[in-house]
Amino acid sequence: MSVQSSIAQARARLADLAPGLNPAVYGALQAELEASEAVARQRGESHVTDLLGRVNETRQTLHAEAAEVRDAFDALAAQAEVGLISASDYAAELRKLEGRLAQALNRTDTLDNLTGQLAEVEDDPVAFTDRLYDRYPSLAPEWSW
């Protein structure tokens, strides 16, 4: 009979059983636990790679957008100084740029959230994957104890 559970739960069960097990059986179960930890580590690492890709792509896009909006504000202000634009056209253009800046700021918050996730997974990829197993038990490994 096999039991499906998180790694932490399997570890706790094994610790309870350990005093009654002979060293060979304990060693085999411990090896099973370590193999599942290796799989969990690999899944966590794969999530790190995925997050890094998303963070970098978003960061590069945002950086380009923020620089473009900054330069556009400067160019607009320069037009006003030389009187090349009416106040109403200027105000309309200014509102558009402000909208773009607000969107960029929102996306910066998203980026902070992704970076928070990245820190969490990178700190302990096994624990991260194990929390996924807790949340989605059908993904959890099967154990012989």
Partner: protein
């Protein structure tokens, strides 16, 4: 903190610097709008007073 997260946080600091520059540029652009509106208002007032004079003194028209 992991090395990759640390690297990403450094890159985000650079991004924040550019966002701050954009926010400062926005403030300058807002000030420039205020100055532009003031100039337009002054110009309108001047041209308004010229029109008033032209009504009172038609001989001044075109001067």
């Amino acid at each position: 903190m992991g090395a990759r997260t640390d690297h990403v946080r450094q890159q985000l600091a650079t991004l924040r610097g550019t966002v701050t520059e954009a926010q400062q540029a926005r403030l300058k652009a807002e000030d420039a709008l205020a100055a532009l509106e003031e100039r337009e208002a002054r110009r309108a007032a001047r041209s308004g007073s010229k029109s008033d004079l032209a009504v009172k003194y038609p001989a001044l028209r075109g001067r």
